[in-house]
Every structure is written in structure tokens, then in C-alpha cells.
């Protein structure tokens, strides 16, 4: 594969989408370079907050189209969605900042700090690039390292959203609400959405890893975007361990088998997409030469890393963290992190460790596969396992609202309400309701959860008093609550938040953002847990040694900068299922 299938006869717009850490930015950069090398005029648009696009090309890029002198025909542009959202917030808040009371200003700012604001602010920035304009007229291809979500596109497609909000100036569409400062005309948003749904102009490339969890997530994105008319989709599985790299290394071999199995069991509707596989490279994807080699399969693998260079990483184990948690005898332990970092597994490991220390534990997971909860249920005497199914909770919540409101709404209003109910906030609120039912047990035993509301949700809840109401409404013993639930979450002796991440750039950055969000709500994560670390296990394979080497700087950043305490959990040969393997995960001495 010298030219991947997704670059055959490419249309004008190419979007690369996938969850953080799968390598979309690298694939997008390599694609842009390849097209430019073929003589096309290319604009590369990066929204990656960890964007190293500037570093790759040795130019400072920023928020304006910049020519890349080292690659003829290539220009680049960096969009920071957080900054775009901040510009929006400022536009609304600045004029009243000194006029209205400070507490009122804070309320407004919090309302404008949700995921929806960021999402739509980023789309607003894209719009200019998707419509015909002098700005982009000279480019044959525009390559994006991200794609708008289905929710954003659907909202903009709804006629009700326009008449209600954009034209009347004040509206009902919640997720357009933050865009009171929408600058562009309806025709421009419509043109942008039309361009996205036009297969002659737009191709979507789904970037995944050969892992069950990421493939499942990609499947969801695929189906959602296909449903709204983005039909031209390709699949790329990135970072696959090549067979020749796994000889003489048990861990590498086990990983290889796991990846091959994940690719064999790839969901049916993904199988129909034109697909490419990109092998894991033994070199870092930094610099033009490296990126030009990304799509080449026959890069000779030399075992150039010295064989016994494995240095014992002296990092605390999960078990050591649990020792500290256990001292409290009871409390709430919440594991937070982006999807796919292993929160559920680590929540199970923490629960098992606490039980092994003779404590009563209730483990609640939102594990979609449920196999983990099933294997643990009944296996330990002091362990109760329950499940919150986010999908089921969301459906229940949506139904309860639609049932209550339908009578009051016309068809347009109903469509808009239904779309609002598909916003990312809805799932969070729905799960939150289930969550509040369980946390009150934490006064008597340990409650360990693999899910938690974001700081943004908590702040909104706290501001409206809704959180207290919610918990009290569900509480049988109303007298027992002296403290507000928000205070319970802020009190580190009652609640410990463990932030889960991987020792890679983007996941660490995402965890930093989560931490900032929680701190805004007065909740300081108690510890960080770095999961699936290769640096924590001895490896012979050159590829894995390289990966271990790369992890060290991320682990150091967590240990020295981000976390007040931390633990490193090694990548294990076998999937950590069942009490014995979970225990192995926790005690592993690094």
C-alpha cells in the first residue's frame, strides 16, 4: 500500500475522525503531504488541541492559513475549538462583565461552558472553509483532522432550529442556544451542511485501532453519520502490530493475537467500507520523512533497540493507592476518563482490592459489554455489582420528557425537542439520575463507580439547586443529609476521584482537560492512574521498547506536573477479567 484506498480519487474535502489517541492527526498530515507531493494545492486543517502540525513542519501556524515552505503546495491552519468557544463566551459576557453582579456573570459563563458550545463554535469555524469563498478557492483539497458530530449536523438540518432560533433571534434549540452570537447567515450554514452530505465533495475517513472498544465507537460514528447522508466513508485501522515484530516477545505476541482477533470480529457494517490497514512504525511520527513513510508497508524493521535496556520503572502500583483509600473504611470512589482508557476494568480492580482488604464494596459500572460485571458477580462475598446502562437510562429519560411534553408541541417543536434530547448533555443527565440513586450508600460502605458527571454538569446542578433536589427526592431518609451532595463530592475524605489515562500525548491532554473541568467545580482529582503501560513491563520487541520509551515522558509529566499522586498499571498479556487477573493488575510491582 503506497497509496491508501481513501486517497484514491479523493474529493475536495477529506475528514478524518476517530477518538483521541488513534492517530487521526498523523494520518491527516501524511495524507495532506501525499496529495501536495502529487502536485495538488492542499490546505490542512487541524483542530487537535495537542496539535504538533506546526512542529512537524517547523512553522508556527495558528488561526490563519499559513504556507508550509518545506512542502510545496501545502498550507495549514490550526483551529482551537476551546479558544473558539472562549471567543463566543467573551462576545456575550464581556459587555456585561462590569455591569452585572459577579455571581450573575459566573452563572452565564458556566452556562456557556458546555460541550455543545465548543462543538458548535468549532463548526462555525469550519463553515467558512466548506462554502465557496475566495479564501479557499485555490485549494484542490482541504484535509480536516476531525469531523463535526452527527448531533451538530442534524441540529443545523432541522428547519425548526432555524426558524426558532436563528431567524427569530431567540430560540428553543438548546445546543444552538450558546450561539447567540452566530455570525453567519442561514444560507452559509446550509451550504456547509450540504457540502458535507455531498459524496462528490466530501469523504469521511474513520480512523480506528485494532481494538474492540475503538471499533465499536467507530461503528457508532459510522452509522450516525451515514444516517444523515454522509455516505462516502472509508475505514483506516491504524497502528497495527506487524507479525514480524512479535517474535520472541510474549506480550507482543499476545497483543498481536488480540488485534488480529479484533479485526476478524469487525462489525459487519464496517466490513462493507473500503478499508486500509496501517502498521505500527518503529519510528516516531515526527518530521516530514517519517510522515512520508507512514503509508508504506514494507519499511524494514530492524531490532535496533538494545536488548536489555529495560529499566525498571519505579512507579507506585494501584494496590498502593488502594491502601490509602481503604483507610477511610467507606466512601465514594469514582474513576473518570475518556472512553477506551479502561475505567471499567480499573474500577473493578479497585473494588476487588478493597474487598480483599476485608471491606464492603458496591461496584457500579456502565460497561456496555457487561461481561466484566457478570464475571465478578457472586465471586466475592463482600462485593455487590450493579450496572448503569447509559443507553437504557437515556432512552428512559427521553421518553419521560417526550411523553410529558408532546401535547404542548407542534411537529416542528417536537422534532427540535427530540434533537435536543439526543445531545451529549442528555446522556450525562440521564446517567446522573441513576448515579444519584447509588452514591448515598457511600456513607456505610465503599461505592466504586466507573462513571461520574463532569464538572460542568455539577456546576449547573449546583447553581440551580437541582442536584440537591434530585438526591433528596430519591432519598428515603431525608434527615440523614446534613451536607449537600456537592459538598460530599468536594470533600476528599468522602469522595476520591481517580483520573484514568494512557501514557500517550492526546489521552494525557484529555485527562488534563477533565481535571480542569472538575477543579472548576471545586473537585480535585485525588490521584491519576496510567493504564495499559508498556513501560511498566519488560519487553524485547523493538516496537514495544520504542513505545515504552515514548511513554516515559508522559508518565513523568503526570507524576511531576498533573497529579498529586499516581499509579501505573501495566499492560497485561491477558485481558484482565476475573478476580485473579484484576488482582494481578493492581499488585504488579513496577
Amino acid at each position: 500500500m503506497t497509496t491508501p484506498r481513501f486517497l484514491n480519487n479523493p474529493p475536495r474535502f477529506l475528514f478524518f475522525t476517530g477518538k483521541g489517541g488513534v492517530g487521526k492527526t498523523s494520518v491527516a498530515c501524511a495524507s495532506a503531504i501525499k496529495l501536495a507531493d502529487a502536485g495538488k494545492q492542499v490546505l490542512l486543517v487541524s483542530t487537535d488541541p495537542a496539535s504538533n502540525v506546526g512542529q512537524v513542519f517547523g512553522v508556527a501556524i495558528g488561526n490563519s492559513i499559513t504556507k508550509i515552505s518545506s512542502v510545496p503546495h501545502l498550507s495549514a491552519l490550526e483551529i482551537d475549538p476551546q479558544a473558539a468557544a472562549q471567543v463566543y463566551r467573551n462576545r456575550i459576557v464581556d459587555p456585561v462583565r462590569t455591569i452585572l453582579p459577579e455571581s450573575v456573570v459566573r452563572t452565564i459563563e458556566e452556562q456557556l461552558s458546555g460541550a455543545c458550545t465548543t462543538e458548535i463554535a468549532a463548526f462555525d469555524e469550519f463553515t467558512a472553509l466548506l462554502i465557496d469563498s475566495a479564501l479557499t478557492a485555490n485549494f484542490d483539497h482541504i484535509v480536516f483532522d476531525t469531523a463535526p458530530t452527527g448531533h451538530t449536523i442534524r441540529l443545523l438540518q432541522l428547519p425548526g432550529a432555524w426558524t426558532g432560533f436563528l431567524e427569530a433571534g431567540k430560540g428553543d434549540a438548546s445546543c444552538l442556544g450558546p450561539l447567540a452570537g452566530l455570525e453567519k447567515q442561514r444560507s452559509q450554514y446550509k451550504a456547509a451542511v450540504d457540502a458535507l452530505a455531498d459524496t462528490k465533495r466530501t469523504r469521511l475517513v474513520l480512523v480506528a485501532r485494532a481494538q474492540q472498544a475503538t471499533l465499536r465507537e467507530v461503528l457508532r460514528t459510522h452509522e450516525e453519520l451515514a444516517l444523515i447522508g454522509i455516505a462516502e466513508q472509508y475505514l483506516v485501522i491504524n497502528g497495527i502490530l506487524p507479525q514480524q515484530a512479535v517474535v520472541h516477545d510474549d506480550l507482543a505476541l499476545a497483543l498481536y493475537d488480540r488485534e488480529q482477533l479484533a479485526m476478524t470480529n469487525i462489525p459487519d457494517s464496517l466490513k462493507l467500507l473500503p478499508a486500509d490497514r496501517i502498521e505500527l512504525k518503529a519510528f516516531n511520527l515526527v518530521g516530514l520523512d517519517a510522515l512520508r513513510k507512514l503509508f508504506i508497508t514494507d519499511v524494514v524493521l530492524v531490532n535496533d533497540a538494545p536488548e536489555t535496556q529495560w529499566l525498571a520503572l519505579s512507579a507506585p502500583s494501584l494496590s498502593a493507592l488502594v491502601d490509602d483509600i481503604a483507610k477511610d473504611k467507606h466512601g465514594l470512589v469514582m474513576l473518570m476518563g475518556k472512553g477506551g482508557v479502561g475505567k471499567t476494568t480499573l474500577a473493578a480492580a479497585v473494588a476487588v482490592e478493597l474487598v480483599l482488604r476485608g471491606l464492603q464494596v458496591h461496584l457500579t459500572t456502565s460497561d456496555p459489554a457487561a461481561h466484566l460485571s457478570e464475571t465478578l458477580n457472586g465471586s466475592l462475598e463482600n462485593l455487590t455489582v450493579s450496572r448503569i446502562d447509559p443507553h437504557a437510562e437515556t432512552l428512559r429519560y427521553q421518553k419521560s420528557i417526550l411523553d410529558a411534553q408532546s401535547a404542548n408541541l407542534d411537529a416542528k417543536g417536537r422534532a427540535l425537542l427530540e434533537e435536543d434530547l439526543r445531545s451529549p448533555c442528555t446522556e450525562e443527565i440521564a446517567v446522573f439520575q441513576a448515579f444519584s440513586r447509588i452514591i448515598r450508600e457511600a456513607g456505610k460502605k465503599f461505592v466504586v463507580m466507573d462513571t461520574a458527571p463532569t464538572g460542568h454538569t455539577l456546576l449547573l446542578l449546583d447553581a440551580t439547586g437541582a442536584y440537591d433536589r434530585e438526591v433528596h427526592r430519591q432519598s428515603v431518609d431525608k434527615e440523614a443529609h446534613v451536607l449537600t451532595p456537592m459538598m460530599q463530592l468536594q470533600d476528599v475524605t468522602q469522595t476520591k476521584v481517580l483520573l484514568v489515562t494512557l501514557a500517550e500525548t492526546t489521552p494525557v491532554l484529555e485527562a488534563v482537560n477533565l481535571q480542569t473541568d472538575l477543579c472548576r467545580a471545586g473537585i480535585e482529582p485525588w490521584a491519576w492512574v496510567i493504564n495499559n503501560s508498556v513501560a511498566a513491563v519488560p519487553v524485547q520487541s523493538a516496537l514495544l521498547q520504542r513505545r515504552a520509551q515514548n511513554e516515559l515522558s508522559q508518565i513523568a509529566a503526570v507524576a511531576n506536573t498533573h497529579a498529586s499522586r499516581y499509579a501505573v498499571v501495566p499492560l497485561l498479556k491477558n485481558e484482565p477479567i476475573g478476580v485473579a487477573r484484576l488482582h494481578e493488575l493492581a499488585i504488579s510491582k513496577n
Binding site: 452585572l100 450573575v104 452563572t107 431567540k170 438548546s174
Partner: protein
Amino acid sequence: MKSIQVFDPALCCSTGVCGVDVDQQLVGFSADVDWANEKGAHIERFNLAQQPMVFAENAVVKAFLERSGAEALPLILVDGEVALAGRYPNRFELSKWTGIPLIDAPTKSGCCSGNTTCN
């Protein structure tokens, strides 16, 4: 007809559905506003998160926020004077202020029928 201005708290939408706690009253009120406006009333709504400038520029509203804070919203002004605060009006109250008769309103009109504002 009298002008009615409703100063909403910082909602992300006028129905509050994507907020943290769906307020049944709010959804009912949105419908009541549509009803009254269709009958010729002039009811304007302002959302603190979206049009804070309107709050800042109105002396009555600004003073209210300084005294009681954003948590005391909503605030309803009729012809510029405070008519109600802390809750949304029901259809009965809207009828009283606007002079629109309740007679031909749907069955849910009037106090204590559709929404729960007067318990």
C-alpha cells in the same frame, strides 16, 4: 395591550430540556406564551445566558439581580414594572395582564389545571 417581558435565568434553551433538571413548568409556560402571542399579546422573553445585555440595560432588572441574584429569576415585568418573580406565571395570570379571555383557551387553561404553579 400591555407589554410583558420575561427575564429567564441562564437557560440553554427556553424549554430547559437540555438543562440539568427539566422544569415541567417551563415547558408549560413556553406553550402558554405561544398561546398568548397568537391571541395578539406581546410577550418577550430574554435568556440571561444569551442576552445578558438586556438585563444589564434595564434598571429594574439590574437592581433585582444585585439584590437577589440570578437564582431568584425568572422576573416578569408588565409595562416595565415588577409583576412576578421567582416563578413563571400561569395562563390565568397571563390572561389577567393581557386581557385575553380564557374562554376559548384549550382545556388545560386556568389555574391548577395544566401546570402546577399555584399549589
